[in-house]
Symmetry: C2
Subunit: 166 residues, 2 copies
């Protein structure tokens, strides 16, 4: 996301709307900007915006990137297992997978174990694209570390893991 020059001022964030890039308003958000849920949401939106823009260079959405990573790491996985692991609705997964198949990045093959289900595989083209996507992802993470510092990044990871296991 585009860095804003004014962020040096004490807390402009308090009066800004959630989406980065939205114009500041004079609306008093009261206690909301101090709420952890609100802060988490704003940070997530900003980080995803940068991530989405980054992956756009290889024509992937974040969900497609995750799916390619999991297929590569678990060749032959079923659609149901993949959806459960990534917490994706199967109804949303099917069109996403269709798109990956159409682009020649992944394949559905009949499962040798169970003919009623498909085994998911990456193609050579998918593996090559994933290598480029990973490099882009590293550049995105490097921007975040530049913003947070190495120790800040480590602290943030620890704190977010504590919350994720709430």
């Amino acid at each position: 996301m585009a860095a804003r020059g004014k962020s040096a001022r004490r807390k402009p964030a308090v009066r800004k709307a959630t989406r980065p890039g939205t114009v500041a308003s004079n609306v008093d958000l009261g206690s909301l900007p101090a709420a952890l849920g609100y802060l988490l949401r704003r940070a997530q939106v900003a980080v995803f915006a940068d991530f989405i823009a980054t992956l756009d260079g290889v024509g992937l959405r974040p969900g497609q990137y995750s799916v390619l990573i999991v297929i590569e790491g678990n060749p032959g996985l079923s659609q149901r297992e993949l959806c459960a692991a990534l917490d994706i609705q199967e109804a949303n997964f099917v069109p996403m997978m269709n798109g990956l198949v159409r682009r020649g990045l992944a394949q559905r093959r009949p499962s040798p174990a169970d003919h009623r289900r498909y085994a998911l595989h990456l193609t050579a083209r998918g593996a090559a694209l994933l290598r480029r996507a990973r490099a882009l992802h590293r550049s995105h993470e490097a921007r975040l570390v530049a913003r947070l510092g190495t120790r800040g990044r480590a602290a943030l990871t620890r704190l977010l893991q504590a919350l994720a296991n709430l």
Copy 2:
């Protein structure tokens, strides 16, 4: 992001699905669980789940709670201003506001300045419910602080603000 398949071994959390409460799976998520966007998303989902369960005690969803807070803090605000400040689509706001009006928690009054728009106001009942909701919200935040520690909470706020202004 660094792709190292085996680092998963050290942390069992790595092999769990995103949604808290989902059973662990044996799917290798590879580098994903180390990605900041992924961690942010998981933490946000867990914190929101707790927040939603907490506010359920007064029959409010998080979005309704935010709307009531902003109406209380900015009496007479227009619908458009409120939606911009909270980054809510107006199409989603209208049914939400209808529900608040139906329950007698908020009102639309003709704006004295501009008869084409409504000014939003809280009712006495809305203010009373909001007091109870705020107390519940404090209990939710207290659970998070118990998990993170006071210093952890402060550090997390600072780090998330740095990301939100990316």
